[in-house]
């Protein structure tokens, strides 16, 4: 199996999973997902009165024989599920040990792998826009089919992070650009001074089934540097004077909890599934327990 992103053992277990779509697939392309569209499949959906011009092949002759009226048999058309993965590749994601970006890529790889195995279309949208790895980004735009897994992983590995984030703008643009709504997975630390509400709201409004995964570094959850500090923001360059000691750790952790809680409440209110993970946590724990328990996949 390819790549360093996911272990073969994990891949093997991921193969058994299948993305659960709570909404009907809206893709125009036919796939293996149930959709609202009526069309060609074996699953009977409904009858409707025949009007001139309907395909005579779908007439229910048995009903015609009993009622002497023409009814059309409708079948559900199975379509594919577009999965869009919004991957935060800003400068702030490069922090942490292990780096948040690496963790996010692993999650993206796992989600993508599950989707590809289920013949769904996967798009990874790293933001902000960067020219450095344009080729890899293009290769991640619309991937379909198990045969593409290798290239998908390679392209993911080729991604680099840097630059300032604008979460709202990235998510809004992703919502607008998508031809069909589907499953959206947002992988970010959600530490954007401009906030996250507008972006997530845009995705929800576009009809996406949104999954937000907040990835924080262990050092962000419990800083280990004490004393009088001048903190410099890696993205904005803003400076913040802080005097921090062991005795204020609990207060800081409470602040983090408050922040995460606000994010979680925002998500819950909009039907967004929210997950929070530390980049130092076990990937299996998140993928196989949390996401599964939240019925992202089964």
């Amino acid at each position: 199996m390819p790549g360093n992103l996911l272990s073969p053992e994990l891949l093997r277990r991921l193969e058994q999973l299948q993305l659960l779509a709570q909404r009907r697939a809206k893709s125009a392309l036919r796939g293996e997902r149930r959709s609202r569209a009526r069309g060609l499949s074996v699953e009977f959906a409904d009858h409707r009165t025949y009007v001139a011009g309907d395909d005579l092949r779908y007439l229910d002759w048995n009903l015609y024989g009993r009622l002497d009226r023409l009814f059309l048999k409708l079948y559900e058309e199975e379509r594919e599920l577009p999965v869009r993965i919004f991957l935060d590749a800003s400068e702030s994601m490069t922090f942490g040990e292990p780096a948040k970006f690496d963790f996010a890529r692993q999650v993206a790889a796992a989600v993508g792998y599950v989707a590809l195995c289920g013949f769904d279309r996967v798009s990874v949208i790293p933001f902000p826009e960067r020219d450095a790895d344009a080729l890899a980004r293009r290769g991640l735009r619309a991937v379909r089919g198990r045969k593409s897994v290798l290239a998908f992983f390679k392209n993911l590995e080729a991604l680099t992070a840097g630059g300032p984030t604008d979460l709202n703008a990235a998510l809004r643009r992703g919502a607008v650009e998508a031809r069909q709504a589907g499953v959206a997975v947002v992988l970010s630390d959600f530490l954007d001074p401009a906030g996250y509400e507008a972006g997530l709201g845009a995705l929800v409004g576009r009809g996406f089934q949104v999954n937000a995964v907040q990835i924080l570094a262990p050092d962000e959850l419990a800083p280990g540097t004490y004393g009088d500090l001048k903190l410099v923001d890696s993205e904005t360059g803003a400076q913040q004077d802080v005097t921090f000691g062991r005795y204020r750790l609990a207060a800081y952790q409470q602040t983090v909890r408050n922040y995460v809680q606000r994010l979680r409440e925002f998500c819950t209110a909009r039907g967004v599934r929210f997950f929070q993970a530390s980049s130092g946590d076990s990937l299996e724990e998140l993928l196989l327990k949390q996401l599964r328990a939240a019925a992202l996949w089964s």
Partner: protein, 611 residues
């Protein structure tokens, strides 16, 4: 509100230091983080949103609270009420006499002694007690027994040197009951040793530590002063002075005589080592005034370089002699210069127009009101006559008394004398084994001289001492003399002015020009003014009466500023001067200073560590 230790406010100087630390900009470590968003939230939540935060366990806080508690505890001055062992009792006797003004120690003996006493205060333990006595002409209790160092320092600071002689006996008598029966009591005498005689003081094993001051005796001073009519020329006044040289080498001295501030005469002397030289000036006097004897030149002790005396114009003495005939007495009285003698056989009134009355073996119908020389005659409430004695032998006479100046009783025999008990108001001048023969004293505000035998029944009138005695008696009984003596006051002794009529108020002008107002009780027959620690001319005005007093040191013991290495008590005891004495010097100030330094260091270190 009062502060026991106001000096502690000096610690307020530490406050700007602390503020300075807060003014100093902290050095911050620059650290690149993914995002400052969480930190901003953190600061906003912990600082701005709530004025109070939950109390967190913080060692710095604990230490600071501990420090505050300790400081508070110390300020509350806790003590044990138990029967703890009492500390030592130290009695400090600070000699404030004139000789302590000597400038051979820097800045003066007194200041140096005061500093030494303050150092002794510093060395006290917490439970030690100290008494501060200032010894001059009078002994003042500046501080009763206390452990409060602040009070003791204040008491010592309030001590002031005077121009008066030392009377250490009084101070020791005051100290003795305090230290009696206490083995841990000490008397610390801070003096130069120029204290005169302590011969009458019984030492009784007192624990005396003598801190001696003074290094040399470069001093000349006026030690005696008197003014009299010139025996050779009644129109002139003779000023007698004694000039002493305390130095161990001969010294020149220039003596000036001034009358009411005007220079009358100057005389140059050469004083031999440790010599007292008499000087006699004669000067005409046309009004009442003040003679001042002044030593020109500089020495260690200026206080004794000047002495003044009030001199009044000589007045004739009016004498009333009541006698049945006594030619010796009449002749002797007539020989007294300036005496106007009236002889009568009996006295019928109070004889107020006479200065003195002589009763020669007569019992008057009305007792005279003035001073009295009574021969074999006395009021029963003055002298209690118990009997007679035949041919009493004269065994002793007090030749130091002014009445017996140049008078001897070597060849005097008395046929018969009254026997009396010495009354409390009089001193016996001439004594026989059975009875005093001559008594002198003051009773009922008048001077009385009493002879217990008839002069005609003795050999005395035939002796040369008789007219001298009569002359002395007239001098002593003359109210003007008594007044003159009254106007010459030793520094530290009170000024006394008898009042003829009651006055409500009296004013005293001090030598430095300051004025004091005294409220006089309506029934008082005397004005007393005690603030005479400084030498000079005092003017007391009471009613229409204005009197000039001359306050002088005139003390040979004070003028002799020779440092005395030991002080004798009574017959056998003596106290050696100590130069060094093991004292318990307190360390708490240094420890407190060290603590402050540690605190500052801790602060600095905290900043260094977190920088």
């Amino acid at each position: 509100m009062n502060f026991l230790a106001p000096a502690a406010f000096a610690f307020a100087a530490a406050i700007p230091v602390v503020i300075l630390f807060y003014l100093l900009k902290r050095k911050r470590v620059v650290k690149l983080v993914s995002s400052t968003l969480l930190w901003q939230r953190f600061l906003a939540e912990t600082q701005a949103s709530a004025p109070f935060q939950r109390l967190r366990h913080n060692w710095l806080l604990v230490l600071q609270i501990l420090l505050l508690l300790l400081a508070m505890l110390a300020l509350a001055r806790p003590y044990f009420a138990g029967r703890a062992t009492g500390g030592r009792l130290l009695v400090v006797i600070l000699d404030a006499s004139a000789s302590m003004q000597s400038r051979d120690d820097e800045p003066s003996r007194f200041e140096k002694a005061r500093r030494a006493a303050l150092a002794l205060v510093d060395s006290l333990h917490d439970n030690d007690q100290m008494v501060v006595l200032q010894a001059a002409a009078q002994t003042e209790v500046k501080q009763s027994p206390t452990s409060s160092k602040t009070a003791l320092r204040r008491a010592l600071q309030s001590c002031a040197v005077t121009d008066s002689p030392t009377r250490l006996t009084e101070a020791f008598k005051l100290a003795q009951p305090l230290v009696r029966d206490r083995t841990d009591a000490e008397i610390h005498l801070f003096s130069d040793g120029a204290v005169g005689s302590l011969g009458e003081f019984e030492h009784e094993g007192l624990n005396v530590v003598f801190h001696q001051f003074g290094r040399r005796a470069d001093n000349r001073g006026v030690v005696s002063l008197d003014v009299r009519a010139n025996p050779e020329d009644p129109g002139q006044r003779a000023v007698f002075g004694g000039i002493a040289n305390a130095a161990s080498n001969s010294a020149p001295a220039q003596v000036e005589l001034l009358f009411d501030g005007q220079l009358v005469e100057t005389r140059a002397l050469t004083l031999a080592p440790r010599e007292t030289q008499p000087v006699i000036f004669t000067a005409a006097q046309d009004r009442d005034g003040v003679f001042t004897l002044r030593l020109a030149g500089d020495d260690d002790l200026p206080a004794d370089n000047e002495a003044s005396i009030v001199s009044r114009m000589p007045q004739p003495v009016k004498v009333l002699l009541v006698t049945r005939g006594n030619r010796f007495l009449e002749k002797a009285l007539a020989a007294v210069p300036a005496a106007e003698v009236t002889v009568v056989a009996d006295s019928v009134d109070e004889a107020r127009e006479f200065d003195l009355v002589v009763l020669d073996d007569v019992l008057p119908a009305v007792w005279p009101a003035g001073n009295l020389l009574a021969i074999r005659s006395a009021r029963t409430n003055w002298v209690e006559i118990t009997g007679r004695v035949e041919a009493p032998a004269i065994v002793d006479w007090r030749n130091t008394h002014p009445l017996l100046r140049f008078v001897t009783f070597d060849n005097v025999a008395v046929a018969e004398a009254l026997t009396v008990k010495t009354p409390s108001w009089a001193v016996p001048l001439v004594e026989s084994p059975a009875t005093p023969l001559i008594l002198a004293g003051e009773v009922d505000r008048r001077r009385v001289l009493w002879l217990g035998f008839d002069t005609l029944q003795s050999t005395w009138p035939l002796r040369v001492s008789f007219p001298i005695f009569i002359a002395n008696a007239v001098e002593w009984l003359n109210p003007a003399t008594a007044g003159a003596a009254q106007f010459l006051v030793r520094a530290g002794d009170p000024l006394r002015l008898p009042l003829a009529a009651p006055v409500g108020e009296a004013r005293v002008r001090l030598p430095d020009g300051a004025e004091r107002r005294l409220t006089v009780d309506a029934n008082a027959r005397e004005v007393v003014f005690g603030e005479t620690a400084r030498r000079g001319v005092y003017r007391l005005a009471a009613g229409t009466n204005e009197v000039t007093f001359a306050v002088n040191l005139l003390d040979a013991a004070e003028t002799d500023t020779t440092p005395q290495p030991e002080i004798r008590f009574g017959r056998y005891a003596r106290a050696q001067a100590t130069t060094l004495r093991p004292a318990d010097l307190e360390l708490w100030r240094w420890i407190a200073a060290a603590g402050l330094a540690v605190l500052l260091f801790e602060w600095w270190f905290y900043h260094k560590r977190t920088a």
